[in-house]
C-alpha cells in the first residue's frame, strides 16, 4: 500500500492554483517550475531604482514567528514590502503563547484583524499545516519552517540558485551533508530535488544525524565524505546546531569537522565545477571552512538574495489565487 501523502489539495484552491505553501510534498514538477519562473521575473527588480510592484497593495501580511529568525523574517518582510503589502511582524515566542494562549486563539485574534496572509514559523512539526486547516477561508498560509518537518521557501530558493548555475536538474547529483535528522530544510530540499527530476540525491552524515529509513525519503545515505562527494554537482551543507554537540549525538566539534566538515581539500572530491551551498547562518570551522564559504565555488550569498525573489513569487501566487484582482 502506498503511504498517504500530504494532500496537495489543501495547498491548492478549486482551480488548482496555489493557496497555501506548507510543504513541497504533493506539488507537481510544473507547479514548482512555475514558481521558479515567476521568481526569475522578480529577480532583476532588486537592482532597479524603484524596487516595488503594486501586486499586493492593500493586503496585510503577518509574519507570525513563534521561533526567532531574523534572517528569514527579514527576507519575507522585504519580499512583502516589494509587493506593496502592509507587513505586521509578530514575535510570539515572547508574547501570547507564553501566557498560555493557545495557537488557535492567537490565530483567531489575528483573523479578527482582517489579515490576508500568515507567514508562520514554529518549533513544532505540523504547526503551519494545523493553522492552514483551522484558519478562515480567505487567508493564505506560508510555512517559514515548522519543527523538523518542512521549510519549503528555503528549498525553493535553493532550487532557484541551483537552476541559475546548472540550468536543469535532469543530470544533477546533489549531496546534502550534516544534521538531516533535525533539518526541515533537508526534508524540503530532498522532496524538491526529487520532484524536479534530479538524477541522484545523497545525504552524508553519521547515523546519529539521519532519520530512520532515510532511504525512503528518496536518497542514498553515506557515512563518509570520500564516497559521498564523488561525482557530485551540488554540495549542500547544513547548519549544525551547537546544542547537538556533547549530547549523545556527536562527540566534539573537532571530530565532526574532521569527518563531515567541508574543507577546500574535500571540495575537490566533487566535480570541478560543483557549487557549494548553505542555508545559513554558517558556523565557520564547524561544518564549513571559511576558505570554502567565501571561495569561488560558494553561492551562499546568492542564495540569500534569491530568497527575496522566490518569496515574492510564492506570496504573489498564493495571494492571486485568493482573489487579489477581484
Amino acid at each position: 500500500m502506498q503511504p498517504n501523502t500530504m494532500s496537495a489539495n489543501l495547498q491548492l484552491n478549486e482551480e488548482g492554483k496555489l493557496k497555501h505553501f506548507l510543504s513541497i510534498e504533493g506539488f507537481s514538477r510544473e507547479m514548482l517550475t512555475e514558481i521558479l519562473d515567476t521568481a526569475a521575473s522578480f529577480a532583476g527588480m532588486s537592482e532597479q531604482q524603484v524596487k516595488k510592484v503594486p501586486l499586493l497593495r492593500g493586503k496585510t501580511i503577518t509574519n507570525l514567528f513563534f521561533e526567532n529568525s531574523t534572517r528569514t523574517r527579514t527576507t519575507f518582510e522585504l519580499a512583502a514590502t516589494r509587493l506593496s503589502a502592509d507587513v505586521l511582524n509578530i514575535n510570539i515566542a515572547t508574547s501570547a503563547t507564553s501566557k498560555g494562549e493557545s495557537l488557535l486563539d492567537t490565530i483567531r485574534n489575528l483573523e479578527a484583524m482582517h489579515v490576508d496572509m500568515f507567514v508562520v514559523r514554529h518549533a513544532i512539526s505540523g504547526a503551519a499545516h494545523f493553522i492552514a486547516e483551522n484558519c478562515a477561508q480567505h487567508i493564505s498560509v506560508i510555512n517559514a519552517g515548522d519543527g523538523r518537518h518542512a521549510h519549503p521557501t528555503q528549498a525553493m530558493l535553493d532550487m532557484f540558485t541551483i537552476r541559475q548555475h546548472k540550468h536543469d536538474f535532469d543530470n544533477l547529483k546533489v549531496a546534502i551533508i550534516g544534521d538531516i535528522l533535525h533539518s526541515r530544510v533537508a526534508r524540503s530540499q530532498i522532496q524538491a530535488l526529487n520532484i524536479l527530476g534530479a538524477k541522484e540525491v545523497r545525504v552524508i552524515a553519521p547515523k546519529t544525524l539521519l532519520p530512520a529509513q532515510v532511504e525512503r525519503l528518496g536518497v542514498k545515505a553515506y557515512h563518509n565524505m570520500e564516497q559521498g562527494l564523488d561525482d557530485i554537482d551540488v554540495i549542500i551543507m547544513l547548519r549544525l546546531q551547537k546544542e547537538r554537540m556533547n549530547s549523545a549525538l556527536l562527540p566534539s566539534e573537532s571530530e565532526y569537522f574532521k569527518c563531515f566538515g567541508l574543507s577546500a581539500h574535500k571540495v575537490k572530491l566533487a566535480k570541478p565545477d560543483a557549487i557549494v551551498m548553505h542555508p545559513g547562518p554558517i558556523n565557520r570551522g564547524v561544518e564549513i571552512e571559511s576558505s570554502v564559504a567565501d571561495g569561488p565555488q560558494s553561492v551562499i550569498l546568492q542564495q540569500v538574495s534569491n530568497g527575496i525573489a522566490v518569496r515574492m513569487a510564492i506570496m504573489s501566487m498564493a495571494m492571486q489565487s485568493s482573489g487579489v484582482n477581484q
Binding site: M1, P3, E25, L104, H122, S125, G126, N134, A212
Partner: protein, 425 residues
C-alpha cells in the same frame, strides 16, 4: 424470580467449545441452560436473536473511563454506557486516574460511581508504585483487599529496574498479577510516531520499536527471577511477539494483549498531521502488524483489548506532536475484531475467545463463558449490520477515532450484565 430467554441465535462460546444454533435461559441473573430450551421454563421476557450471534460479554483488559480526575474527557457514566454499547460487561481500569488508584479510598470512589452508573463490573488495576511515581511500592495488599484485580504502573515508567524487581516480588507475595505496559522512556523520549518512514518524512520525533522490546526483555528476565505472573499490556511490534513466543516456549507464565487498532492500522495508513492517528504505542510498520496478527493466531498474544482513551476536543486540537495520544475505542472493538476474522485466517471463535475466554483466564475470573451457574454476562450482536461510526448510537464522550464517519460492520444489539439489560439497540 425473573426469567429471560434468548432464542434463535447462533451461540458462540469458545470456553465451552460451543458453536450452535440455540437458546440461552437466564434466571435471577444467572445462566441456567445453553443450547436446548428447558421444558418447564416460562420466561418473563424473550429476546429474539435470529440472524444474530450470542456470546459471552466481552472483558476489556484496558479501558480508561477518565474518572476521577479527567472528567472533561469523559466520566464513569458516559464511558460505561459506551462499554455497554460495545458489548463489554467487564473492564479493567488502569490506575492513572487523578488521584491515582493507590489507596482503597479511590477504589471505593470508583465502586460508588460505578454503582450509580448502573454498571457493576469495573475492575480497578491498583498502582504498582505510590502516586505512580515509580519510586516506592504501593500498599498492594490494601489495594487487593479493596478490590483491585491486579497491579500496574499504567503507562508511566519506574525509575530503576530494582524498583520493578522489588515491586514484582511484593506483588507476587500477595498473589497479584502485574499488568505491565513495556516502554523504555529514554528510548521513546519525546516521540509521537513510530520511528520509521512516516516519522522521517514528516519530521516527527520517533519512538523506535526497541523502546518496547527492550522493556519486554527486561521484564521477562525479572519475571523469571521473581516468579511474578506478568501480563504484557498493549504490545505493538514484531520484536515483542518474538520475545514472548520464546518465553512461553520455555514455560514462563506470561500473557499478553494487543490493542485492536494495532491489528488494523500502520504508519502507512496515517493521514499526515491528523491527530486522530496519534496513539501510544504508535502505529508501527506493516510487518509489525502481520506479526501481531500471527501472534494472535498462534496464541503468543492471548487477548485483544480496546485501549479505550477518550479525549476532549482540545486535547486533539493542535500540531500533531502537541496533541494527546489515544483513541476512543470501545465502540469499534467488536466490528474491528470481526473484520479481523474476515481478513485473516483467524476464526470467528478464536477472535471472540480473545475478548472473552482469554481475558477471563488472564485475570483468573470465573467469567467469559456461557456456563450454567455463571452470571449472565452476555453480548448479542448482528454480525452483518453496517453502521456509521460516530452517528446516532455513539455513547462515549470521546470522538477521537480514526474510524470516525467510517462504515463498520457488526453491531451489538443487546448487552446483559448479570442478567440485567444494560444496553439495547
Amino acid at each position: 424470580m425473573s426469567k429471560l430467554l434468548i432464542r434463535g441465535g447462533r451461540i458462540i462460546d469458545p470456553a465451552n467449545n460451543l458453536d450452535r444454533q440455540g437458546s440461552v435461559s437466564v434466571a435471577d441473573g444467572n445462566i441456567i441452560a445453553v443450547g436446548d430450551e428447558l421444558e418447564a421454563f416460562t420466561p418473563d421476557r424473550i429476546i429474539e436473536a435470529e440472524q444474530q450471534i450470542v456470546c459471552p460479554g466481552f472483558i476489556d483488559l484496558s479501558a480508561r473511563l477518565r474518572e476521577p480526575g479527567h472528567t472533561r474527557k469523559g466520566n464513569i457514566q458516559s464511558e460505561t454506557r459506551a462499554a455497554a454499547a460495545a458489548g463489554v460487561t467487564t473492564l479493567c481500569l488502569p490506575p492513572d486516574t487523578n488521584p491515582v488508584i493507590d489507596t482503597p479510598a479511590v477504589v471505593e470512589y470508583i465502586k460508588d460511581k460505578s454503582e450509580k452508573a448502573g454498571y457493576e463490573q469495573i475492575l480497578p488495576i491498583g498502582a504498582l508504585t505510590q502516586r505512580l511515581a515509580g519510586n516506592e511500592i504501593s500498599s498492594m495488599f490494601a489495594l487487593k483487599q479493596a478490590g483491585c484485580i491486579a497491579v500496574g504502573n499504567a503507562d508511566l515508567p519506574l525509575t530503576k529496574l530494582q524498583i520493578l524487581r522489588r515491586a514484582m516480588e511484593y506483588a507476587d507475595s500477595h498473589g497479584l498479577l502485574l499488568i505491565y505496559r513495556p516502554n523504555e522512556p529514554s528510548l521513546s523520549a519525546d516521540g509521537c510516531a513510530h520511528d520509521g518512514a512516516f516519522a522521517s518524512r514528516y519530521g516527527l520525533p520517533g519512538i523506535p520499536a526497541a523502546a518496547e522490546t527492550v522493556a519486554v526483555a527486561q521484564c521477562l528476565e525479572l519475571a523469571q527471577l521473581t516468579g511474578c505472573r506478568v501480563h504484557f499490556s498493549r504490545i505493538s511490534c514484531k520484536g515483542s511477539v518474538i520475545k514472548l513466543q520464546q518465553a512461553k516456549k520455555y514455560g514462563l507464565n506470561v500473557t499478553a494483549d494487543v490493542a485492536i487498532h494495532q491489528l488494523h492500522l500502520t504508519e502507512d495508513d496515517m493521514i499526515p498531521f491528523d491527530s486522530a492517528y496519534h496513539v501510544d504505542p504508535p502505529f508501527r510498520s506493516d510487518s509489525d502488524k502481520q506479526f501481531l496478527r500471527n501472534g494472535l493466531v498462534n496464541g503468543t498474544i492471548d487477548a485483544i483489548c480496546s485501549d479505550h482513551q477518550p479525549h476532549d476536543l482540545d486535547a486533539k486540537l493542535g500540531a500533531f506532536p502537541e496533541t494527546q495520544a489515544g483513541i476512543a475505542a470501545l465502540e469499534t472493538l467488536l466490528p474491528l475484531t470481526l473484520r479481523l476474522s474476515r481478513e485473516h485466517p483467524i476464526s470467528l471463535t478464536q477472535s471472540i475467545a480473545a475478548l472473552t475466554e482469554k481475558p477471563a483466564k488472564i485475570l483468573g475470573l470465573d467469567k467469559g463463558a456461557l456456563t450454567p451457574g455463571l452470571g449472565a454476562d452476555i453480548c448479542i450482536f448482528a454480525p452483518e449490520q453496517s453502521w456509521l461510526v460516530g452517528h446516532d448510537s455513539w455513547q462515549s464522550a470521546g470522538k477521537n477515532t480514526p474510524f470516525w464517519n467510517k462504515s463498520l460492520q457488526g453491531k451489538v444489539t443487546h448487552t446483559l450484565q448479570a442478567g440485567r439489560t444494560i444496553y439495547q439497540q
